[in-house]
Every structure is written in C-alpha cells, then in structure tokens.
C-alpha cells in the first residue's frame, strides 16, 4: 500500500532523511514538467526542480499537514521556476532528447515539430493562463486540485482554462498547426 505524503514527511522529520527520496520520486516528473513548461529550457528546469526539492527538504518542518503536501511543494516549485524565469536567458527550444528512442526519424520530426509548436504557443500565454494549462494537461490535475493549488474558485479554473485553450488554438493556427492538422 502506498504511504501518504504526510506519513513520509513525518518519517523524514523523525530522522529518516533518506525517505525523502520517495517524495522526490513521486513528484519529480510533475515538477520538472511544470518547470520545463514555465521556463522552456531543459537545464534551467532541472536546476529549478533540484533547488525546489532542496528548499522543500530544508523547510519540511514548516509544512502544515492539514494541507496537501503536493500543493505545498508545487508552490515552492512554481516560485523557483518564476524566480529562474526572471533571470533566465532568452527562451530556447524545448530539448527533444527525451523523445521515445523507438521513434523513426520521420515520426520524430513530426513529434518534435508539434512539441515545439505547443511549447512555443504556451510561452506566448501569460503566466496565469500558462500555468493553468500546464497543471491540467502536463500535471494531470483535476479542476478541483488546481483550484485548491492556486487558491481560486473552481469556476475560475474552468473559465481560465477555456480562454487559455482558445488562445493556444489561435497561436497554433498561426504557427501552421492548423485545426485540420491537429
């Protein structure tokens, strides 16, 4: 049975520091994708995630177990990404190194083109809209989770998501990823 985040936090605070690894394993992908979509750069995202986890570890005793651990961790990760984005160099294309190695060259090109187009379109959204898309589609969070995370009503989440998708659609259409192309 999977242990709850809060139980793991208690173990870490009780001196079992290595147990923190479970939390890293559990959330590194979500945080990395969040950072990657905010920053648009593989290395910057990795640094941001690493720093976020270290800050979380360092401040673990301030975590209020009345709230969800991921919500708390997410805020640290988001702050770290935003801080990094203020200092970062101009946006680079998203690294495609992580693409499935089984893909053929033609398929790879198509996927890379689409990924680049999506990332580029995302980067044109304001942070408010970008983070809502990231949380829904790249972190697989429900509307309710997103609402809790951002401290906004669920209706606002839906409304922002609706607008963000429309804006994305327009950006993608301008980039030649037409509606028909999908």
């Amino acid at each position: 049975m999977t242990e709850s985040d809060e139980a793991i936090v208690r173990q870490v605070l009780d001196g079992h520091a290595a147990t923190f690894e479970v939390l890293v394993e559990r959330y590194q992908t979500v945080l990395f994708n969040l950072a990657l979509r905010i920053l648009g750069d593989h290395d910057d995202a990795r640094d941001a995630v690493q720093t976020a986890f270290m800050k979380a570890y360092q401040k673990l005793d301030t975590f209020d177990s009345e709230h969800r651990f991921f919500s708390w961790l997410y805020r640290i990760g988001m702050n770290e990404s935003l801080n990094a984005s203020k200092k970062r160099r101009p946006m680079e294309e998203v690294d495609i190194r992580m693409t499935d190695p089984a893909m053929g060259p033609a398929e790879l090109l198509v996927v890379k083109g689409l990924k680049d187009a999506v990332q580029s379109a995302l980067m044109q959204l304001t942070l408010e809209y970008r983070q809502i898309v990231v949380l829904r589609h790249f972190a697989d969070l429900s509307h309710r989770d997103i609402a809790e995370l951002l401290g906004i009503p669920e209706m606002t989440v839906k409304s922002r998501l609706f607008t963000a998708r429309r804006l994305l659609e327009q950006c993608l259409a301008r980039k030649g990823v037409t509606r028909a192309d999908g």
Partner: protein, 266 residues
C-alpha cells in the same frame, strides 16, 4: 459558436461535464454539422496537449538531491528557524566599509560557514584520501588583474583548534579563504545562494586537502588537521538581492562570513 456550448464541449473532453452539459453536447453533435466540426477541433487540441505532455525528469535530479541530503551531518531537516536555537552567530559587519559600485540594483551576498565537530555526527571522513585530482595541490592564482580588498576576517575558536575565514572582494568576485587547524576531526559546510550558480572556483591547498563534496548551493569540506581552502564566487551582474539558507543540522557553530549589499554600499 455558442460559448456555453463550447465550454460544455471542453467539460465533456475534460471528463467533468454535468449531465445537463453532456446532454446538450450530444444534442448539438447529433443535429449540427458546425457543432460537430467545432467539437473535433477542440478534441484535437486536447489530444495534442495530452500527447505532448510529460517529459521524464532528468535522471540526475534524484541522485543530486539525495547526495546533498546524505551529506547533511544531522540527517534531517532543521527544526528551527535559520540562525536561532543553539547556533552561535558571530557575524559582524565587514571590517572595511566598501563602496561597491554596481550598475544595477541591490546586491546582497550572504555566505555562511557552518562548522561541525566530532565524528559521531559527521559523515565518514577519509582524511587520508586526496580529493579529486583537479582539486589537489592547486594554489591560489596570482590575480594580477584583479584587485581584492579585505571585507572581513572571522576567527572561530573550537576545542583543539581554530577556523579562520577571510573574505575578500573585487568588483565581480568574492573570495573566501578558510583555514582550519585542529587536533580533532571536523567538517565544514559552506552554503551560498544556489540559484545563482555563483561558485566559480574551489582551490584547496596542499597535497592532501581532504574530501570535498559539492552540491547545489553547498560545499562540504572534510579537512585534514591543518588545511586551507579558497572559494570564489562570481557576484558581478546580479541584479537582485539574495540570501543564504543553510542546510546544516547538528552544527555547533555557525559564522556568517559576509553580507553584501551593493545598494547600501556595504
């Protein structure tokens, strides 16, 4: 296209539609070509977003975090605010007031040194083992073109010895020289603002400098009984103030080496 219908289509695709919304979309799809086309377009956007999601996290994130955690002498997060409790802070202002002329904004550099004594809490210390080859035996370069000025000097007496830390600064480089002389085992943790990636050089002296572990925002040094290490930080061009938070738990001494705020000229 009716915005409410389009919103309902999104809800259907998100799996969060109410019964009423689902019914409305079904009716529209059954009798309206334009609605069917729009639904397909929205579905394609959802598919595209979902298809491109999730890069795996880089494989080096977890090991790097774990290495840093394992290197912590106390083995657990701190349980009190930084700088309080049994920490003994002997920080003071830089000995020499310097007018730091940076073109942009405020700059604050806070470099802290934590000293841990005793073998019970410190990680295994292979003091006879030389550090990595690129560290061993390197002397501080003679920076003919860089003019360093003394900022502060701290002496920390510990049982069986002392730690002396000198901080020197130039316009773009902060240099920290730490000397240790002790008859007991010790470990030193120097922490600095991690996100700035400001640490540019580590220069241990002597043929057996002891072990040096580096992590994001932190350098741990397990020195021989007498040793010296120099670290350099690139602090030029940084526009925002930043500070230090230490990762060290179980330390018996902490000393703040330098606090630097260009806007205030100190």
């Amino acid at each position: 296209m009716d915005e409410q219908l389009e919103a309902a289509m999104n809800e259907v695709l998100d799996g969060t539609a109410s019964e009423e919304q689902s019914h409305r979309v079904q009716m529209a799809l059954a009798g309206d070509t334009g609605a069917r086309q729009r639904f397909e377009e929205i579905k394609q956007l959802h598919d595209l977003l979902n298809r491109t999601h999730r890069f795996p996290a880089p494989t080096d994130i977890r090991p790097a975090i774990l290495r840093t955690i394992e290197a912590r002498p106390g083995g657990r997060p701190r349980t009190r605010p930084f700088g309080s409790g049994p920490w003994i802070s002997i920080s003071r202002r830089p000995a020499v007031g310097m007018a730091w002329s940076f073109a942009t904004g405020a700059l604050a550099v806070l470099v802290g040194l934590a000293l841990v004594r005793g073998s019970t809490t410190a990680p295994e210390r292979p003091t006879n083992q030389p550090g990595p080859s690129h560290f061993a035996g390197t002397m501080v370069r003679n920076d003919g073109e860089i003019s360093f000025r003394p900022l502060s000097e701290e002496r920390l007496d510990i049982p069986g010895g002392a730690v002396v830390a000198r901080v020197l600064g130039s316009e773009r480089v902060l240099r920290v020289e730490i000397s240790v002389s002790t008859v007991t085992e010790s470990s030193l943790s120097l922490t600095y603002p991690a996100s700035e990636r400001a640490l540019t050089r580590i220069i241990p002296e002597g043929s057996t400098p002891g072990r040096i572990d580096m992590a994001v925002g932190r350098v741990d040094w397990y020195p021989p009984q007498a040793g010296r290490i120099t670290l350099e930080f690139n602090v030029g061009g940084l526009e925002e103030p930043f500070g230090l938070e230490t990762l060290v738990e179980g330390a018996t001494r902490r000393v703040t080496l330098a606090t630097w705020n260009a806007a205030k000229g100190r």
